[in-house]
């Protein structure tokens, strides 16, 4: 392979085994073998299998019946699919708010007063608890009879609203719940990023009269680029993975208005709709293709970074 052949010298002991001679070339593959095996079987191959499944009608147990692109054709006429797709776009857009919100909180907390470490960890708290618990907590928070939200609204004289029971508000209500831990995540990324900001540049900019927003936008934010990139990646992935919150808070309702593709796929393939694996796989493929655009962008950025070094 690419190992440079060592010039054979007479001092070389002649009985070096084949493995010894090729050690540098073989070792990485031996070390990679278990990881590749697991990853192939459980991640890479299933992706391709899902593409195949999306062209059959199958209840998960009986015979698979090849139907070509029928599943995809059905998607086009399925209003629930379009609702889910629309909600996915809303999720993607609104979830990005976690990035500026996280930056804002990070800036607020980036001081050195006594006890600030505790404050930082407590602000990060929501990210550590599971989305299931976040979902429960927020559905009680929104509860029309005793929820804290309506207690507060009532206090300032506004009528009770049933956020999770109202088709117009429901998706936004769930996104707000999701933004809570996501903002905490972005905050911690920026807090670490702010540690690395070059104090000399800040000082120089200050001497030049930069302050406030100008300083933030032209001096600080460019230096936070690595943190912003990671925040962007994890936020996009998080938005497209939204499943737990919807499942816990509304189960897709009311009237299916809070579904997103990841939830609708699960519903079609594994719940009340009966086991329509093929149709579910078709939805998953659409979701995958959306994600693939972002994955391509992430990898392209990483590739440029790698070549830069």
């Amino acid at each position: 392979m690419t190992t440079p052949a060592l010039p054979q010298t007479e001092y070389e002991p002649p009985r070096r085994s084949w493995y010894k001679r090729n050690e540098i070339a073989i070792t990485p593959w031996l070390f990679l073998l278990p990881a590749i095996l697991f990853f192939m079987v459980y991640v890479i191959i299933p992706i391709f299998q899902s593409f195949t499944v999306s062209t059959v009608a199958w209840d998960g147990l009986g015979e698979k019946e090849f139907v070509g692109l029928d599943n995809y054709r059905e998607l086009l006429d399925d209003p629930a699919f379009w609702t889910s797709l629309r909600n996915n776009l809303i999720w993607l857009l609104l979830y990005l708010l976690a990035i500026p919100a996280g930056l804002f909180i990070a800036l607020f907390l980036n001081q050195t007063v006594t006890g600030i470490r505790i404050y930082k960890s407590l602000f990060f708290f929501p990210f550590v608890i599971s989305q299931v618990v976040v979902g429960l907590v927020f559905s009680w928070f929104y509860d029309p009879t005793f929820g804290l939200l309506n207690a507060i609204l009532g206090f300032v004289g506004l009528g009770p609203i049933n956020v999770l029971g109202d088709p117009t508000y429901v998706t936004y209500g769930i996104i707000a719940a999701g933004l809570w831990p996501q903002t905490a995540y972005c905050m911690i990324l920026y807090l670490t990023g702010l540690n690395a900001v070059d104090p000399e540049q800040v000082e120089a900019a200050r001497l030049d009269g930069a302050k406030g927003w100008k300083m933030l936008w032209y001096v600080i934010v460019p230096q936070l680029k690595p943190a912003t990139f990671i925040a962007f990646v994890v936020t996009i992935v998080g938005a497209l993975r939204s499943f737990d919150l919807i499942s816990i808070m509304t189960n897709g309702g009311p009237f299916g208005e809070s579904r997103v593709l990841s939830f609708y796929m699960f519903e079609v393939a594994l719940s009340e709709y009966g086991f329509r694996m093929g149709y579910g796989a078709a939805i998953a493929v659409v979701l995958f293709l959306i994600m693939l655009c972002f994955i391509a962008y992430f990898l392209y950025s990483m590739y440029k970074e790698e070549k830069g070094h």
Partner: protein
């Protein structure tokens, strides 16, 4: 250095800031504080419609006692531990090796393999759902903890390898060259030279994977059912069905389910944050 250090501001601004911090924190954690409050209120408070006052009597012992002694909760917690710990160890072991291979050796497929792990780590779960469920059924591992663990190990290997490879790339390469010149076998370089240096990365990943897997819900629902193998995230829904509208008990259950990763985070904060920032933001 940005924003301007508060100690350079006037005394009033400093006091204002110090006062604002706890207020902001309480506002930020309000939903959680509400649940914590609910979990120590006695049932009587709810029947009289008193939701928001302090508990009339401390009901914490009774509520948490019910959760621990009168429900499947301990079973679910144990399942969570039996799923989470082997996954964390397995994924970290696999990725230490894979990260070593990708971080130290130069060969043609290196970057491609690395990108394969990274890309796989980002795919939506749903594209894997049908085939993985099918595979688990075929292996006879449906509704077992092993089935769940095997999948989690495989999937987390993507993220862990990304992390480990970048970490190993940052190690001083001359160290490895020196060992090679000494004629140390490659696997011994891994065990005696690289592995000891990877301790911080290993700690970071163990904590992080523990939290990720503890909080997993989707795969728990897809690959298991029933109390004998479901983790606490999935179990809490049946718990809630059992105690429908008993908000004091559901709150106590939620607190119990959330606690282990929280404890983990507070104990291992430094490692946790190093892991989350992918080691990329220093």
């Amino acid at each position: 250095m940005f924003p301007k250090p508060i100690e350079k501001s006037s005394r009033n601004v400093q006091i204002g800031y110090q006062a604002l911090l706890p207020v902001a924190l309480i506002f930020w954690l309000l939903p959680l504080i509400a649940v914590a409050l609910f979990s120590i209120k006695p049932a009587a408070d709810f029947t009289t419609g008193d939701y928001w006052n302090l508990p009339s009597v401390f009901g914490g012992f009774e509520n948490y006692g019910k959760v621990f002694f009168d429900s499947d909760m301990p079973r679910y917690l144990l399942n969570s531990i039996l799923i989470t710990v082997p996954t964390a160890i397995g994924a970290v072991a696999l990725s230490c090796m894979a990260g070593f291979a990708l971080g130290i050796y130069q060969f043609k497929a290196n970057l491609w393999l690395f990108f394969l792990f990274v890309a796989g780590n980002f795919v939506p779960f749903q594209i894997l759902m049908v085939p993985v469920r099918d595979l688990t059924l075929d292996l006879g591992l449906y509704n077992t903890k092993t089935g769940l663990v095997l999948f989690h190990i495989a999937f987390q290997t993507g993220f862990c390898t990304l992390f480990m490879r970048n970490f190993i790339k940052g190690l001083p390469f001359p160290l490895i060259e020196a060992a090679r010149v000494e004629g140390v076998a490659e696997w011994k370089i891994f065990v005696y030279v690289v592995l000891p240096l990877m301790k911080p990365a290993i700690a970071a990943l163990l904590v992080l994977i523990f939290t990720f897997i503890w909080n997993d819900y989707f795969w728990a629902v897809v690959l298991t059912q029933g109390a004998e193998s479901q983790p606490v995230t999935a179990g809490i829904t049946s718990f809630n069905a059992q105690y429908r509208a008993a908000y004091h008990l559901m709150s106590a259950g939620a607190v119990v389910a959330a606690l282990p990763p929280v404890a983990m985070f507070f104990m291992m904060q430094k490692h946790f944050i190093a892991g989350l920032t992918l080691g990329a933001v220093k």
